[in-house]
């Protein structure tokens, strides 16, 4: 077959035809994959809830979207079993990650003790440093936060006077993680919101002064 010549008609026709065909094809693929994509997202969410509030036969309520103290969207799932409250799973966002936002799901029992957590997005954290957060704070690990209660335990990094060991050389990411925890706890325990956000601000100023005096240590964050 001879090559089409460079007439304007041919050029417009072929480019339009190809764009239309590709567009239609994409529409088709999009229609086919739309459902699995939603499914994958739902699965991820369900898996995260199951991981942070463990137990067989739990029922999960419809999500309740609220705004946490830092103005970000937080989502609360109430978990019950046979009508009895088991705990709450809270998805919260911290804006203070090393390279942007991080999203973490926390599970609390009815007394506010931390049952578990699952990091949903820490893709902006440094690999090998801040990106260790999915494991670092788990049970038996160095930064273990499981079983602690944000209203009685000081959930800040030891550098800020708290009792949580920060990820080695990733203080900023660790602070962001604990900030997400404070956000989650704040929205989950209605009455404590005020106190949490107040202590939050104190923390913020403490962090600020600390950040100035220890800027060298912070530079070391990524080295």
């Amino acid at each position: 077959m001879a090559k089409l010549e460079n007439s304007t008609k041919n050029m417009v026709l072929s480019l339009t035809a190809i764009t239309l065909v590709v567009g239609a094809l994409l529409g088709l693929v999009n229609a086919v994959t739309a459902e699995p994509i939603e499914q994958a997202k739902a699965n991820k969410q369900a898996a995260a809830i199951a991981a942070v509030v463990p137990g067989e036969g739990n029922e999960i309520s419809e999500p309740e979207t609220v705004t946490s103290a830092n103005g970000e969207e937080a989502v609360i799932f109430t978990v019950t079993k046979g009508g009895q409250p088991v705990g709450k799973a809270v998805r919260a966002v911290s804006k203070n990650g090393f390279g942007g936002k991080i999203t973490v799901m926390f599970g609390f029992d009815p007394n506010g003790n931390i049952l578990g957590y699952s990091v949903l997005d820490c893709s902006n954290e440094t690999p090998g440093l801040g990106a260790k957060m999915p494991d670092w704070f788990q049970k038996g690990q160095k930064g273990d936060i499981i079983g602690k209660n944000p209203s009685t335990n000081n959930m800040t990094v030891s550098k800020d006077g708290g009792e949580v060991d920060a990820i080695t050389a990733a203080t900023i990411s660790s602070r962001a993680f604990l900030d997400a925890l404070a956000q989650a706890y704040g929205v989950c325990s209605g009455t404590e919101v005020a106190t949490t956000s107040a202590s939050q601000q104190q923390n913020a100023t403490a962090v600020a002064s600390c950040e100035n005096s220890q800027s060298c240590a912070d530079c070391a964050e990524s080295m």
Binding site: V22, G23, G27, A208, N212, D218, C219, M223
Partner: protein, 199 residues
């Protein structure tokens, strides 16, 4: 104030070439002379700003309302390719002096991933239009800075003795690695600054 943090982050902390690995091809290819590197940076600044200004309303005005988010890549790359052509023609007619300086780089820019990357990023980061403009300018400045610094080093590198297998790209890559390491010294600066400014 937050714009200042944003600019510093985009230029130094999260430099598009040295921390995000976008635009490596022109970074390695057009960095043998400081002058050319500077002009390339300027051309990228120019196109990046226009591309962001054009693609932003397309996404929010056309793709999102009609549920065509999946057409983003294809529409963006076509728009950018068309834009580069148009810029080339307009420059040639109206500003021949600028054209003769930037002209050679313009076709290269279509396949420069910084442009498409920034256009997609401003959507992913949910920036508003003003933030998008600031982000694209700052990113391009970061690109230009990296280009000029790297070209300066390469000019010196060209007159040194190197093992034969290291000549050309390998030594350039290792130099770029050292430059990236130097830029890592900026990490955390944005956080410290925003804390100091009380943001």
């Amino acid at each position: 104030m937050s714009y200042i943090i944003m600019i510093i982050t985009a230029i130094f902390v999260n430099n598009i070439v040295l921390a995000q690995f976008l635009g490596i091809c022109p970074f390695l290819g057009v960095s043998k002379k400081v002058g050319t590197a500077g002009w390339m940076g300027l051309a990228v600044l120019f196109v990046m700003l226009i591309a962001t200004l054009v693609t932003y309303p397309i996404y929010y005005g056309l793709l999102l309302p009609f549920n065509l988010g999946y057409m983003q890549t294809i529409i963006y790359i076509l728009v950018i390719a068309a834009l580069v052509q148009m810029v080339e023609i307009i420059l040639k007619k109206t500003m021949p002096a600028l054209y003769s300086a930037l002209g050679v780089f313009l076709p290269l820019i279509t396949t420069n991933c910084t442009i498409l990357g920034v256009a997609i990023n401003v959507i992913n980061f949910e920036y508003n239009l003003a933030e998008s403009v600031v982000y694209s300018i700052a990113t391009a400045l970061g690109f230009t800075l990296a280009m000029i610094l790297f070209a300066g080093i390469r000019e010196q590198l060209a007159i040194t003795d190197k093992p034969k297998a290291m000549e050309g790209t390998p030594i350039a890559l290792i130099t770029a690695g050292l430059l990236a390491m130097a830029f890592m010294g900026f990490s955390g600066v944005d956080k410290g600054l925003s804390a100091a400014l009380g943001l």
